[in-house]
Amino acid sequence: MMRILLIEDDATIAHFIRRGMQEAGFSIDHAADGMAGLDLALNDSYDVGIIDLMLPKLDGLAIIERMRERKNNMPVIILSAKRSLDDRVQGLQRGGDDYLTKPFSFSELLARVNALLRRANNIVESTELSVGDLSIDLLARTAVRCGSKIDLQPKEFALLEYLMRNAGHIVSKTMIMERVWNYNFDPQTNVVEARISKLREKIDKGFDIPLIHTVRGLGYVLKHSEY
């Protein structure tokens, strides 16, 4: 079982992350201050660390720096309420592997944790992804459902690929904007919605079981059963 270290002083957020991670099948340890967190990080072994920046006793960046000084290479996601470009850059430069600003959706945190795990464990990705009767070939960039080929524009394919990679997990509009279009903000018009509905027309139209589901308030999920 993958082990996660959470260093976060806000009890509500810690509880929220802990529960979500346990449901997602992770084992999670929690420290409420910087010193206790550093202690756990150095003396135990974890697959991913989720570290808040503003912590009592020792702040998050200091924890990461001390870990790196001791050659501890645990991948770290920084949680922070600061979202300026400078803060992000600093967080990553000083040893963080990813940076997530509060407030965040749990699905996004989970997706980032999974991405870090994939990267850290050098998982060789297959060139083909499939969910139910839908499969895509990442090299040929083609999609096939029930044996019939689906014509997709490049961006539509990228969107589908992203949904497939996170199959079963909710992805928010923000995540889609960021990962598929490389835009780190939300336009006011329903850009993602429009794109999803086009994709839906191509993927789900004419099939009994829809694959793309909207989760109100959270985003979208691609899965092979009723959500």
């Binding site: 979202r83 470009l85 279009w181 336009p187």
Partner: protein, 466 residues
Amino acid sequence: MTLASRLTLWYTSAFVIFLLAAFVVFYLAMVSILDERMDEDLEEDIEEFAELFEDKGLAGVKSEIAREVMAGDEANIFLVLLNNEGKAFYASDLSHWRNLKVDDRAVRRAATKNRIVLRTVEVGGQEYATRIVYGRIGPQVILQIGESVEESEEMLEVLFAVFAVVFLLAIPISSFIGWVMARKAVRGIEEVSETAAHIHGGHLDQRVTVRPQGAEIQKLADTFNAMLDRIRDLITEMREMTDNIAHDMRSPLARIRAISEVAVSSATTTEAHKQAASTTIEECDRLLQMINATLDVAEAEAGTAAADLQTVDISELARDACELFEPVADEKQIDLSCELDNGCSMRGNVQSLQRMLANLLDNALKYTPPNGKVGINLGCADASIKVVVTDTGIGIPQPDQARIFERFFRCDQSRSETGCGMGLSFSQAVARAHGGEISVASEAGNGATFTITFPGSRIFPSPVRD
């Protein structure tokens, strides 16, 4: 120590030093002139007596000596006739010169070399020094003339006394003048600082008024006033902004509160709870977006750090933006046309520029009704980059056009439309941070055209080390 007293001190010191130097020079010049004149007189006397001796002989000389030293003058001057050995054989009244000695060497030199010899000696009983001259006026006749320097000394003493008085008067007078001048000079500064102190107490409408007393002070006051104007504008703007933020935040907060209250008190099914939670998340995201947008504008206004600048292919960014918004346009049945020159690039921050373009298209699509037209045109023909975004939407009424770039400004003051008016202020901040400018042309009900121009110097940047 205040500036005024320091200036006064400097002024007084400079004045006093100058005065002192002038006196010293004057005094020394005076001394040398008086000495010279005395010596000349003595030498002339010797010459006159020599001529007299030639004309009228010793008797003439003797009677002349008697006449020369009139009564009352004997304390000041004396004349003695000596032979070549220095023996006196005739003299004027020497009652004041009892301790007079004859300088044998001087006599010898006068006798043998026929020279005029001058000496200054102290004679016992005489208050002042005595200047003595020895000169040969005839065979075996040496004339010794002595004159007290009392007269010149007294003159110098008077001079000294006059100076001392002038000096003593000069210190207070120059201090006073210096003080008045210094006060006059710093008056303006004091007025500025008094106003500043006053403003510190919250009177932002006060301005410094200075009487005309020099360009420097006027400039200080003007700069200060300009700064005050800016501060007042900023504070007004901030106040408005805070009001707007508070207003815009209150609505989602009110909704969140209402939904949660319903969920707590009357929702019974899981479905109803889920519904409430979903709406809450949506409202939270709206709040978050608003806060982020505000911060982003502030960040963009602060400008981009040089380190974050890179060469950006803005044509590609515009193409991406077109591609991004195409489905939205399709959905609203708006004709989106993109006419983009290829390969226009500039120095800039990718994310800000990307977002600026997206904001403009986003806005255009939002305010254009179905079956309308939105276009983006990008050109870099004449050494500058020009982005034009047009729409056939509701347009912007003339009086609002100047204000649409303000933060939180929304044309319909009812604030019913969701999304806050940050897009345009952000775009403006980005354009300006990149040295460009944004402008709008519009007629109410007749669409709007936004034009952004980036100056040419940004297009072909010098290569940078990355």
